[in-house]
């Protein structure tokens, strides 16, 4: 079946611009996660949704970052006033939502801020 889909696969933007990154989770998965992976590093947690609500947003680095999941399926990660340090691969994952459910990751969106 279809896996987690992330669009776009690549995004180049200028410093100071606004960007939106989209994640389509596996159908029926109630939990959705956003991670950020910088070059040579492991993924870092940003935010976790259970259904429509953000259950844990402790990983968002500052108030320029925001994410929504209005209907409990597709999620959008929004970054305002982008900075060069925001350049990274942004990963989305979904799961069935129980404690031991494996996370299924998308291929990520590579964001480059020039």
């Amino acid at each position: 079946g279809a896996g987690v889909s992330q669009t776009p696969s690549n995004k180049v933007t200028e410093k100071g611009k606004y960007v939106e990154l989209r994640c389509d989770p596996i159908s029926g998965h109630t939990a959705l996660y956003w991670y950020r992976q910088s070059l040579g590093q492991g993924p870092e947690f940003l935010i976790y949704f259970q259904g429509t609500g953000a259950a844990d947003d402790s990983g968002l680095p500052n108030d320029r970052f925001f994410a929504v999941r209005p209907e409990g399926s597709v999620s959008t990660l929004k970054i305002q006033r982008t900075e060069r340090g925001d350049s990274a691969v942004y990963l989305c994952a979904s799961s069935e939502g129980t404690a031991y459910s494996p996370l299924h990751f998308g291929n990520g969106t590579r964001l480059t801020v020039t």
């Binding site: 991670y35 590093q41 990963l91 799961s95 031991y100 459910s101 494996p102």
Partner: protein, 113 residues
């Protein structure tokens, strides 16, 4: 707080020889531990997981890992490396019961012909 430390940033082996990727964890309670693999330009894939059942966990592609509480370790092994095993490997621990994952820094596995 939960954390994992991958002891080697880069491991190089010859095809057909054993693989050992080392991971130590820190957790204030009984952890759930995972190994994920990331091939170039592909998404992260779950290799195996430990969730307090058997301490020796078997995963896909011939990989296995042993949970050793006394050593706080969860090392990944494979008896015989294939060229296709060349990738980045991440040791991962859960934080709480939400499924939130804490990743190690990763180990790059190189397999030489």
């Amino acid at each position: 707080a939960q954390s994992v430390t991958q002891l080697d940033s880069h491991v190089s082996v010859s095809e057909g020889t054993p693989v050992l990727l080392r991971c130590n964890y820190s957790s204030s309670y009984s952890p759930s531990l995972f190994w994920y693999v990331q091939h170039p330009n592909k998404g992260l894939q779950l290799l195996l997981k430990y969730t307090s059942a058997a301490t020796l966990v078997k995963g896909i592609n011939g990989f296995e890992a042993e949970f050793k509480k006394s050593e706080t370790s969860f090392h990944l092994t494979k008896p015989s490396a294939h060229m296709s095993d060349a990738a980045e490997y991440f040791c991962v621990v859960t934080s709480g019961n939400t499924g939130k994952l804490i990743f190690g820094q990763g180990t790059t596995l190189q397999v030489k012909p």
